[in-house]
Symmetry: D2
Subunit: 346 residues, 4 copies
Amino acid sequence: MSSFTLGDSNDIGVAVLGAGRMGQTHIANMATIPNAHVVVVADPVADAAEAGRDLARAQRASTDPVAAIHDRDVGAVVIVTPTSTHAMLIEEAIKAGKAVWSEKPITQELAETQRVVDLWRASDVPVQLGFMRRFDPGYLRAKALIDSGELGRVEQFRALSRDTFPPPLDYLLHSGGSFLDMSVHDLDLARFLVGEVEEVHAWANVLFDDVFAQADDWDTSVIMLKFANGALGVVETSRHSAWGYDIRTEVAGARAKVVIDRAQKTPATISRTLPSGFGWEGDLYESFPDRFAEAYRIELETFFADLGAGRVPAPGPDEALETLRLALACTRSWRQNRPVKVAEIR
Amino acid sequence: MSSFTLGDSNDIGVAVLGAGRMGQTHIANMATIPNAHVVVVADPVADAAEAGRDLARAQRASTDPVAAIHDRDVGAVVIVTPTSTHAMLIEEAIKAGKAVWSEKPITQELAETQRVVDLWRASDVPVQLGFMRRFDPGYLRAKALIDSGELGRVEQFRALSRDTFPPPLDYLLHSGGSFLDMSVHDLDLARFLVGEVEEVHAWANVLFDDVFAQADDWDTSVIMLKFANGALGVVETSRHSAWGYDIRTEVAGARAKVVIDRAQKTPATISRTLPSGFGWEGDLYESFPDRFAEAYRIELETFFADLGAGRVPAPGPDEALETLRLALACTRSWRQNRPVKVAEIR
Amino acid sequence: MSSFTLGDSNDIGVAVLGAGRMGQTHIANMATIPNAHVVVVADPVADAAEAGRDLARAQRASTDPVAAIHDRDVGAVVIVTPTSTHAMLIEEAIKAGKAVWSEKPITQELAETQRVVDLWRASDVPVQLGFMRRFDPGYLRAKALIDSGELGRVEQFRALSRDTFPPPLDYLLHSGGSFLDMSVHDLDLARFLVGEVEEVHAWANVLFDDVFAQADDWDTSVIMLKFANGALGVVETSRHSAWGYDIRTEVAGARAKVVIDRAQKTPATISRTLPSGFGWEGDLYESFPDRFAEAYRIELETFFADLGAGRVPAPGPDEALETLRLALACTRSWRQNRPVKVAEIR
Amino acid sequence: MSSFTLGDSNDIGVAVLGAGRMGQTHIANMATIPNAHVVVVADPVADAAEAGRDLARAQRASTDPVAAIHDRDVGAVVIVTPTSTHAMLIEEAIKAGKAVWSEKPITQELAETQRVVDLWRASDVPVQLGFMRRFDPGYLRAKALIDSGELGRVEQFRALSRDTFPPPLDYLLHSGGSFLDMSVHDLDLARFLVGEVEEVHAWANVLFDDVFAQADDWDTSVIMLKFANGALGVVETSRHSAWGYDIRTEVAGARAKVVIDRAQKTPATISRTLPSGFGWEGDLYESFPDRFAEAYRIELETFFADLGAGRVPAPGPDEALETLRLALACTRSWRQNRPVKVAEIR
């Protein structure tokens, strides 16, 4: 078993792997974290690595992520590389005894994910996956209300997600399908807020963009969920939206209901004559970077706060495994046109 | 074929059949309708009939609904009797050549409903069923937006309904099950706003009240809908609500989304210290009589306006038949634990 | 002293005086009042009187309002005539011992109003003036919260009113100026919700329509209020609005704040691409008839319910007098360009 | 004239003067600014200076703010010291040719502020004062709408501000009175959004806390504003709030109205049975640090972006002077119980 040593928990040295757009977001967020500093930014593209180093005010840039993991000043790694490299880099870091924060998913394959979970369980290395919605203040409040019993027995879960712009064909061909690539966020919230799901039935369709048909994918879907505790749920997904990013989640219990939704982005409402008569209007979010900006910041901050305090960060690889299993069950349900028990997926 | 004669279309004589709570609501709404007046109120309970007559400032009270239909001064009947009598009274009125407005459903049986539809088709008698939500200003606006093309191609339908108080066992035993008794409102809206449904899959559960189990019914359900035009939808239903009547409907298209929801009942918001911190609160509706008060008024007004202008009122028996077929498909899906094509139901 | 006799309090005979647009609104609302019926509709224009009679399903039409007051079947009069005739008709009705509901104001003159108050005080005839906002469910809720002590000591009052369309010159020339004609609604609410006002300072301007200058009037104004109980307040008024009728009232106390505002008219919200980006929109009210439709109904219903139960209806002529005094103080403040104590106005 | 040299505009060296609570906020925000880094944190309290240095990951801590200004690696200073020291430190920095960002106000004295303005005008040193609301996305949007003409001619300005907790006597005794200490934010917005004010009339009262009377101050006030362009406005202020921080601003024009208000803090709404019936609730902000967190970040970011691009930052000392003059006019109006022309204040 690899031995985990964090170094100075009040000033953890960090390697950021990946300096693309999301990598830059995480680097910017690192700047406000009191007990960590970026030592090295690694990206196979040397210019990106150097730009990341400058943004991070870090000591070193590197084109070799694996070397960066093994940097002697590094106690934790932040992985923001392409999905296909997550599993390998997480395993490398666990073996090196470095704490891991990684963008989700570990991989789209169940067996490979299980292998990472097994390695992690055999170690004492803290690993957290980037399910950022769990750290949005709205979802945190919902979770607190549920855990405190204020909702009473949970009866219904209801999630809607619409991305603004559909991805290009290149991306879709390696995305694992929309249940794994997009609905997975709501499936993870279902597990986070309500509990494990026993059975799913998924319907999907190509309604607006043939690129999805070309990728053997779908642009519009709906999933029914039967939870182990008896609750029922739905997850609706669409991969375009003429009105911007549209995320709404509702959990209804015997005593109360909580709705997570941000009614508008900017605190400015305009009243005027509209084409349809007298009215008012507000703006909406464009996409996940603006809607979940705060969640991205809080998830990293919480990870390092947990490391600093010796708490186990969550969600870990075990959570990622179960959420993947659920998304795979949806995919099978849609492919085989029948309800699927989640326990089938192994 | 019976011959339909309305009498003076500027002052239509009306028989109101049934003077219970909803009957009183309709009688009160009749008072504001410019081209109709109540001639007779009929209810087997003489006291109720007389109280109804006084409320309606009508000439006559009667304990015989059939006789009231045949009253020579009556050109139209408003049927607000128990569900089990609707079909018989509608048929009697059609045969008597009197225009009919009736609370839904015609009956819970497909064959009997078909029989009424056939009789109606063979006549020229106007018949309108009381799907009041179709006349709520929110749903009217949604329908206008969809019909005008402002939503673009419709992609998703999403309905949620929660009644505040579960009904007693006596009622449940004759209600036909919650899909026919309650979800039917959302199923009708699905047809009204999006179009015909091809296939459904329904899951249900008894989560909070054993009275539903005793009635072989369920208190919580979710339905997936596959529309003929490719759109996907969900209908969620619960038969209790700690936060009052909770009705929300969303229709999303390629170009816009419309949400029908009344955020609060009274135009007064209170800000104060809440147990959980600083906050504000607004009130919500108790049940359908307060949430849909305006819709109840508008549906009757529209019926008489249509009669006055010689337009065919809608929704007619044919609409009621198709909505019933859809609710029966949901019931079969739940009973047989499988997706069901609506065309199966005949 | 005239002797007040209502007749049958379960079925009060009513004379409606004035059958213009607002008269028709009140006639329509009369139809839903259980313990009153319209006996006669009077309007100097015979066609209007007859149309009103038909709408009211009343027995008689008349071109003589005074004769209608004295109709032997009449126990109460509803006065919806031009403002200049209110005082005379109210006095005639008091002398005849008939209960009075009248549109406000009694008159724009203090002395004449005082004379009506004196006559009323010397009688036992119930008289209610049409300050309809006091009967809107939002304001009723605010009043209840204040009276119950939930707001604590009231500290601030804040009212905004914008009419949609400015009135024509003809109207303005006899309207008494915008403080009496429009701000008076908010001044009455200030007294209703917070209490008597000791001092005012008013500023006004002609900003958008010279017709106001021609009438020696103003289109935009702001008033500061010093209440007898120490609270401070503001009333802002504008006589046009590109976004429809805009009425918002706030009362802040030591323990809570209540805001009376209806966020949108129709329960349908549309999300879409707006010229300025992704956004959503809702509609707003056009004017007082749609915003306060319910208040118009409730004020009449309450009047007749009070009559039926032997309660004294309110607000009576004394309230109208004090609200007029306050509006006159604002007018003097603006004309003389100085703060004015309300006690000055006598 | 002192010569202004910024150093490397892509990596400006910064001295942060003052490491109290707000100093720490600004230090945290500095971490995300791409073209600046903190060189030295100065605070007379050595421990605070060192904690600030650690938080800033800066090279040096100092107990001497003046020395820090003159640090050779410093191109810009961020002043977050007690108000009484602002003028002196700004002057020192201007003389040293260092760019200045300073918390407002320069001072509470007009003559001293004028002296700083004169010094600044004679220099080429960029100076920005911390009116953070001007950088809140809501106010930025309002400003853009007004500047683009979408509101049409501005007619009304309406601001409400309530702080949650009243300050202690010690603070009040040196705060300059509530118009300078608190209403000044709304007065600055009035100038920013609508333009210069010609005349004010202010009323104030002690309604809930005698500590204000002891400080010859007031806890509740209302101001009327007459703008040079003819618009009318009001500013209401209260120094406590049982429902948290309450900031709402409205600007109404001939064509549209913009309301700046954040309806709730957390994107989670809870529906449940309330003591008063069925209802729903959302949370509100506690105070300026949470409501304007984004504005604090954006104002610094904009300052350094302007420095980097060679643009003149705003609002500068001239803006601070005019806003101070307006607040002094309000104070005189209240002290002398009369309307005051702003031009009187010199």
